[in-house]
Point group: C2
Chain length 395, copies 2
Amino acid sequence: MNADLVVVGSGFFGLTVARQCAEDLGLKVLVIDRRDHIGGNAYSEAEPETGIEVHRYGAHLFHTSNERVWQHVNRFTKFTPYVHRVFSTYSGGVYSMPVNLHTINQYFGKALGPAAARALVAEQAGEIDTAAADNFEDKAISLIGRPLYEAFFKGYTAKQWQTDPRNLPGATVTRLPVRYNYDNRYFNDTYEGLPVDGYTAWLERLADHENIEVRLGTDFFDASQEVSKANVAGNVPVVYTGPVDTYFGDAEGQLSWRTLDFEQEVLPVEDFQGVPVMNYADEDVPYTRIHEFRHFHPERDYPKDKTVIMREFSRFAVAGDEPYYPVNTPEDRQKLLAYRDLASREKDVLFGGRLGTYKYLDMHMAIGAALSMVDNKLTPHFKDGAALVAGGVDA
Amino acid sequence: MNADLVVVGSGFFGLTVARQCAEDLGLKVLVIDRRDHIGGNAYSEAEPETGIEVHRYGAHLFHTSNERVWQHVNRFTKFTPYVHRVFSTYSGGVYSMPVNLHTINQYFGKALGPAAARALVAEQAGEIDTAAADNFEDKAISLIGRPLYEAFFKGYTAKQWQTDPRNLPGATVTRLPVRYNYDNRYFNDTYEGLPVDGYTAWLERLADHENIEVRLGTDFFDASQEVSKANVAGNVPVVYTGPVDTYFGDAEGQLSWRTLDFEQEVLPVEDFQGVPVMNYADEDVPYTRIHEFRHFHPERDYPKDKTVIMREFSRFAVAGDEPYYPVNTPEDRQKLLAYRDLASREKDVLFGGRLGTYKYLDMHMAIGAALSMVDNKLTPHFKDGAALVAGGVDA
Ligand SMILES: Cc1cc2nc3c(=O)[nH]c(=O)nc-3n(C[C@H](O)[C@H](O)[C@H](O)COP(=O)(O)OP(=O)(O)OC[C@H]3O[C@@H](n4cnc5c(N)ncnc54)[C@H](O)[C@@H]3O)c2cc1C
Ligand SMILES: Cc1cc2nc3c(=O)[nH]c(=O)nc-3n(C[C@H](O)[C@H](O)[C@H](O)COP(=O)(O)OP(=O)(O)OC[C@H]3O[C@@H](n4cnc5c(N)ncnc54)[C@H](O)[C@@H]3O)c2cc1C
């Protein structure tokens, strides 16, 4: 094995680290991924019957306010002017999300201005004192009042967490976004858009450097192959972006995750729902949302007689499931501290990315964190011989 | 008077002609305007109490799909990423405009997909046969059905025209925009935005050329001043962008226009309505819409304790009013033909712009038409000595 650095995982975190090290530090970087494709969860592919770009692991929308990240990503792809907007179906009606003045006026059948709407919501929220609220439901009601909570948060949250919101911790809710104007942009970031040629082309360009080798279908814990933990750890510097508990053989117990099930369907119509993402807030609708991928790229020449939709279902992950969102119970946080401690003592191994740090990271956050890891850890190590000390999984 | 070309009117048409001739043809251009400011109807100014940019002659939104115009305007200003969206208050509710799937679902209290909504509207529109419809109301109902017509078009149209829609010609309605998706952009153009430093700064840069002189407060029909019709016409080439009927002393009768009254008010709140433009569709609300100017520039640092709103009222213009929109009755079209005839016989005078051609022109259309006039008429004349023949007011 001829590598100065091994990167486990070819998601945005791993590939960004690999690219920076290959290009700026001139290192030979070997990237492995146990999946048969690069890109991690941002991977996308053309649905074969329609050619419509589908995001295999859930819809991915790029957005950032970080100038450095924006400069960086623009080296590898152009972005369309796509701006994300989401609607929600509740009890036979369709509402604008996140909750805004239009949503409030539509729900209450009124035409209030910002001040009057604020007063109405404040009055309804007065039912419960925020300081006294100790579960999700009470906390939410104390912030936006019972009617809006019951319509737009109760059922959706229950489905997302398979848990009655009265049994979820109040601390989960720090704020609920309510806008007292008609702005219904989903993200507030300065920059937003979708990669013109799709995510996979972007990720491929990121990996396309003479100093980078990518080996797919290669599991770091498969000791029978060359680039395994057994062979590599301690011998060649490693950036590991897989699940931190797996790295340590679940020594401190398994961290809990939520996962998603996706039901993809090709339908014989041009436009199924008229919008990229429709949330379903009713508890008796089993899915949380439906994505219709063609609407992410209105500029493309997609077929006029077919469309691809994907229903999304949320549940707790069990063995074998893709880990998507950290559940983050008090027990998880205890375990994480223990893993962090183990990680900081692991020689020449850095832990990064979503799985490696047990943190939900948007793409721009994963990219930003990867750039920082190169600046703060890998460059001093490879340039000046500084010791490669992981700050733990929270690095 | 030391000028190769006289331009009457310093709106977008006049200034674009002046700039192109000054710069590309090296002509000395003298621009006059009877108002005390440049810019024509696109003129804007800071409201003195708040500093908020106010468009004195009604809200102006720039949008175009014309590449040449877009290149041209970007020489003189940068544009913000503002995208125009409008809502409508009707009978105590607030709806998304132009009528789209959200509007339809909200109005009927449903959660229909595109196909079902299309079927519903088609069924309702079936009440009247489009071919047989000979007034505005019947035509509109034949296109979108009675319920949506009565909510969103009837009262608004009646107020705009001070006329019962049953007494307006059916031909006025060629199509009514209905979108069977959740897109509520007001304009469909490729490029859109507002000038970063405001309209007046843009217009001033357009006029800022050593070969251009602008004389304000100067009426072309005031024979007591140097650059009057009496002194100039037939002696120096003229591009005239004032009202065509006025040029000929109303010889063929006056063309009819609609005008607008604006009621501007400073209010002691940060946000009055939460949106730049709110339409009022109810017939018993006297104004057609309210503009709140701060929302056109969310990127600016405007005061947090004050806002400027402007109520808009529509009526037929009488003597002394600003002519805004051509009424375009059959009589108007007869008169226009006669003026066109006169114009084509007027030596060395070209008629252009909104008033000179009796046509509603968006800014990008006025600019595009000005560029064409320079290419097709003024350049051949000044470069090759071709005769300067007006194609009439419709040039
Ligand atoms: C459903 C969903 C929707 C999302 N939507 C958005 C969005 O709209 N916008 C946004 O900005 N972000 C979104 N994200 C977040 C985005 O996916 C992450 O930011 C990004 O994937 C993080 O990259 P990463 O490299 O850290 O992790 P990943 O992309 O998960 O990459 C980790 C890689 O490591 C590999 N790996 C794991 N274990 C091993 C092993 N033992 N051996 C070898 N390889 C291994 C995996 O196969 C995987 O390819 C979403 C995430 C999910 C789950
Ligand atoms: C209410 C309203 C809203 C609008 N909103 C938009 C919008 O959102 N987007 C858009 O693209 N366009 C909009 N427009 C259109 C825009 O204003 C026109 O495209 C633009 O003004 C056309 O420029 P112009 O030079 O042809 O005419 P004008 O701007 O009207 O300029 C004509 C000039 O000629 C001068 N003049 C007339 N008679 C004489 C005389 N006898 N002597 C000297 N000078 C004279 C006038 O004082 C005036 O300054 C709007 C128009 C109106 C009325």
